[in-house]
Every structure is written in C-alpha cells, then in structure tokens.
Amino acid sequence: MHIVVVTKATPDTGAKITVENGVPTWKEAMVINPWDEYSVTEAVVLKEEHKAKVTIMAVGPAEHDDALKQGLAIGCDEAIRVWDEALVGHDSLQYARALAAAIKKLGDVTLVIFGKEFADSGSNQHIYQTARLLGFQVLGSVSKLISLDFGAGTIKVERSVEQGKQTVSSKLPAVLGVLKDITEPRYPSFIGIRKAAKAQIPVWGLSDLGIEAGTPKATILSYSEPPKREGEVEFIEGESPREIAEKLAEKLLEEKVL
C-alpha cells in the first residue's frame, strides 16, 4: 500500500504579485500550494488508517523543497523531487510525463492524490494527464472519500460538481483530485518538523526515469497585470437605510445589471 501525494511551492495566497520586467514578481514567501494542505493531510490520514506508505513528490527546482519538507513534517514518509534542467520551460504534458515516470519507478503505487489545482498556474490539467499517462482511473473534484479498500482494490468517493454531488466507485489504481471538504488540514507535528529539518531530499533526473524531456507544446508568451478597475467608488449616503437602499437600487437599475 503505497500512496503518492503531489505538491509544489507557490507564492503565499496573501502575496501581492506584480509584473516586473515582464515576469511575475513578489516579495512574500513560497508556501506549499494551499490546496495541497488538504491532499497531503488526506494522504497522511489514509496512511494511518491503512498502514500505508506515503511518498510526497514535486516536479521542479530546489525552491519546491520547502513544500516537500512541509509534507514530511505533516507525516509523509518520504519525499522525492523530480527535476532536470531539460525541463526548464516545460508545459503541463511534459510535467505529467516526468511525474508519471517517477510514480512508475516507485513500482507499487496504487493511489495518487492531488490538491484541487495549482494556485500559481490556476490549472488542474496535470491531474488528468498524469492519470491517463499512468493508465490509472481518475476521480476529480473529490469532496469526500466514502470508502477505500486496498485489499479488494476499490475506492468510493463523492465528487462535487456544479449541479450537486455524484457518488462514484472505482477500481484501484486511481488518481484523486481532492477539494477542501476532504479533510481538515493538519499542521506539522514537532516530531515531523525534526524529521523534515534533517531530511535530504533525493532528486530524480530524466536519466533516472529513462525518459526524454520532449518539447513544450504550450508556451507563455507574456505576463501582464490585470487592468485596474476604473473610476472611484461612489459612496451612497442618506438619512435612513431605506433612503440609501432606494438610491443604490436606482443606480443598479441604471447599470442594467439586474
């Protein structure tokens, strides 16, 4: 029973991000991708319930080590970082190929868990791509894990979609993309912190994985800051809440947004 949970470091959600000299820039620290606080915790919860082993993985340069260490501190057993200079400027498919190769190299993985999406790229395609490249079942938008039986090789989850909740069962191996509802994120434990602080994280390159980097088929041409919202706020004042409400309602009717 071996679970892989995938993470990366992203700027703190409170970061003020600007575009300087054509690249996104911020001063705040990098933190574990906020959605992964949930996936990592869920992996650790499952580890405890099923006596499984959890490996946390990231694909990227050394700046992702802190996110991996955070995972170790929360309770993951091992961390592996996949990186190779040939992957600089990679697109999502290249990322997924490298990740899938690393998961295959572990050999005995039957469950892979991702957070909902990457907070930096705003994308979740890597989840589905990795699953298909591995030949695993993919269950996205999982809001609840109803049952998991490694012995029987089955899993049942609740998926949260736009119109409601769907219950789906599947055979293992499977890839899950989990939402915030899945669990309450855990903080690192002190014992975990000690372990993480000492950890030397192995880096697997493409030659270790026996794959080629390939070339990106999607490229970012430019970055820009979103246009500033135009105009100043117009404060609505009045003698009574009723008067304020009437004035505001008139304005909104004029805006034709109702």
Partner: protein, 322 residues
C-alpha cells in the same frame, strides 16, 4: 478551422457553459461540431443546433448515461482520431476540465485550461489565462501541431441567442468502452435544489466577517433570493464554520465574474479580491470606510449591513415586483 465542442447537459438541458463554448467556437471557426454524449439526448442535440452548432456527433448509450471520466475521455479521443478536428473546446466546468485534460494526454495534445479569451494566430490557439488567481494575466499559445484543446471559463464568452430554426447533420457514434471495460460506476447523484452555482451566477451577494455568525447570513440569503442571485462568502466565515465551503469566493474558493457582486461586511483581503475583482459592478457595504473593498467597488455604503441589506431587499421586492 474545424472546431469540435464537447458539451454537457443537466436535467435534459444544455449547460450554459456549453452554450458559451459553442458561441466562442462559432466566432473562431467556420465549422463547429458539438459532441453530445448521454442517453436519450435528442433534445440536447437540437439545443446544440439552436445555439450555433453546424453539426453534431452524438453518442447515445447507457454506458454514457451518467458522466464518468473514463468512457468520456476515451470517446472524445477516439472521435478526434477519426474526424481530425483542428481544435476541441469545452466549458471549463469540473467535467469539461477533466475530459479535455484526459484527452490531452491520450492524444499528446496541448491544452489551454480555463481561458478568459481565445483567438487564432497563424493557426495557433492563443488565449488569455489568469495566473495566481487572477493577480497576473498571461498570453499563452499552443504550438499548433495536431489537435489543439482549450477549456473556457464560465461567463467569459458569450452564447449566441437561441435560433430554433437552426438544424444540421447528426452523426451517431458508438462508445469506445463497453460497461465491462469501465472501472468506475456512478452510484448516485444528489442535486443541489434551487441554488444557483456561484460560477454561473449573474448576481452574487456575499457576506464576510461582518455578518457575525451563521444566522448573519439570513439577510444575505434573502437579498440574493429577491435578486435571483447566488450566495457567496469570505474565507473567514467559511473557516469559522458559519457557511459551507461551496460558498467561498476567493483564491482558495471560487473565482467568479458576475454582473453584480454585492459584498456585505467583507473587508476585501487580497485573497478575496482575487476571486471577485472581475465582477462587472461591485457594491460594498461595510462599517469601516477604510476597508480595502471600497477600492474595488463602484458603489459603496458605509453602514451596518444589518440595516442596509434588509432595506435593499425591501426596495428590490417593490421595484422588481416580487
């Protein structure tokens, strides 16, 4: 350009996101084919035509009755191999992103996920996307080899007006996987009754820490109901357990872009702004005139939400005749 649109439907109606995707495809390509999967989907096929599809590829089968990623991904990939479209689009809904994400790997075709705008430059799909929850915008481009994929953010593209006189060719295809070959089973569906999903809502009324507790969302809900809108919430209120997570707007909640966003008792932390700054008109109601939310707002009221929001509800009840 030959563009396919994977569509989805619910309650026997074509999803709004799919209508928008067909609309976007029409503005880009000369030949738009909608893919309609499910069981007994003839009404959906007609709707796809009404909203602009020139042709429909239909797969009507029990194995496709409920959405499951595995048979849907396999089928879209197979159709792409057989029919060689230049591009496949879908709404960036939960299902749309899963399907095209999977297809992307199956076909080794790149995908622009959750795009805000879309164009074709030298035959290459080119998009605006939001990174860091909208704090940065990117211009991204696919290499143009093989089929090109994109999922389209809800409300970022316009659907065409329905034209019930429209019709076209329907091609029926068989599913790729038989029931025995599918490892997943859909075991039930519990719909959210009467609630409008945040990402599709044209009007959102949101409450923040200023609502003070779970019961403080009552006036927010009433106003949302009168306006026909959805209820949103700040992270603080969700974390405090006052309202379920599916209402959370912001960086770790939903990113929304309604026509009208009313923020009541929300100070406007940067994470919240990231989720709602693309709303057309923002109204902020807050006791604190210095709250950052007023910097985004078109209209502001400095006052107690428990006085202003119920007064608004009353006024709109009268004006909208409800």
């Amino acid at each position: 350009m030959k563009i396919f649109v994977w569509t989805e439907h619910f309650d026997n109606k074509l999803a709004q996101a799919s209508k928008e995707a067909i609309g976007a495809a029409k503005s880009l390509g000369d030949q738009v084919t909608a893919l309609v999967f499910g069981q007994n989907v003839d009404a959906i096929v007609q709707e796809a035509f009404h909203f602009g599809a020139d042709a429909v590829i239909k797969a009507d089968d029990a194995t496709l009755a409920d959405f499951r990623a595995e048979p849907y991904i396999a089928l879209v990939a197979q159709i792409a191999r057989d029919h060689q479209p230049d591009a496949i689009l879908a709404g960036a809904t939960t299902r749309g992103r899963e399907v095209l994400g999977g297809v992307s790997a199956d076909l080794d075709a790149a995908l622009l996920d959750d795009v805000l705008s879309l164009s074709i430059e030298d035959g290459k799909l080119t998009a605006t996307r939001a990174m860091y929850a909208g704090k940065v915008l990117t211009k991204e481009q696919l290499s143009g080899e093989g089929v090109q994929l994109a999922t389209l953010r809800s409300r970022a593209f316009k659907a065409l007006d329905a034209d019930t006189s429209r019709s076209g060719e329907v091609i029926s295809v068989e599913p790729v996987l038989s029931e025995d070959e599918i490892a997943t089973k859909s075991e039930g569906f519990e719909g959210t009754v009467g609630e409008i999903s945040l990402t599709e809502a044209a009007i959102i009324v949101s409450g923040g820490r200023g609502v003070g507790g779970p019961e403080g969302f009552e006036p927010i809900r009433e106003l949302a109901k009168v306006l026909g809108g959805a209820v949103g919430a700040s992270r603080a209120t969700v974390d405090a357990g006052w309202i379920p997570y599916e209402h959370q707007v912001g960086q770790t909640g939903k990113v929304v872009s309604p026509d009208l966003y009313i923020a009541a008792g929300i100070s406007g932390a940067i994470q919240h702004q990231a989720g709602m700054r693309n709303s057309k008109v923002i109204v902020a109601i807050n006791k604190d005139a210095e709250a950052p939310i007023f910097k985004l707002a078109r209209y502001g009221v400095v006052g107690d939400l428990f006085e202003i929001v119920p007064a608004l509800t009353e006024v709109f009840k009268e004006k909208l005749g409800k």
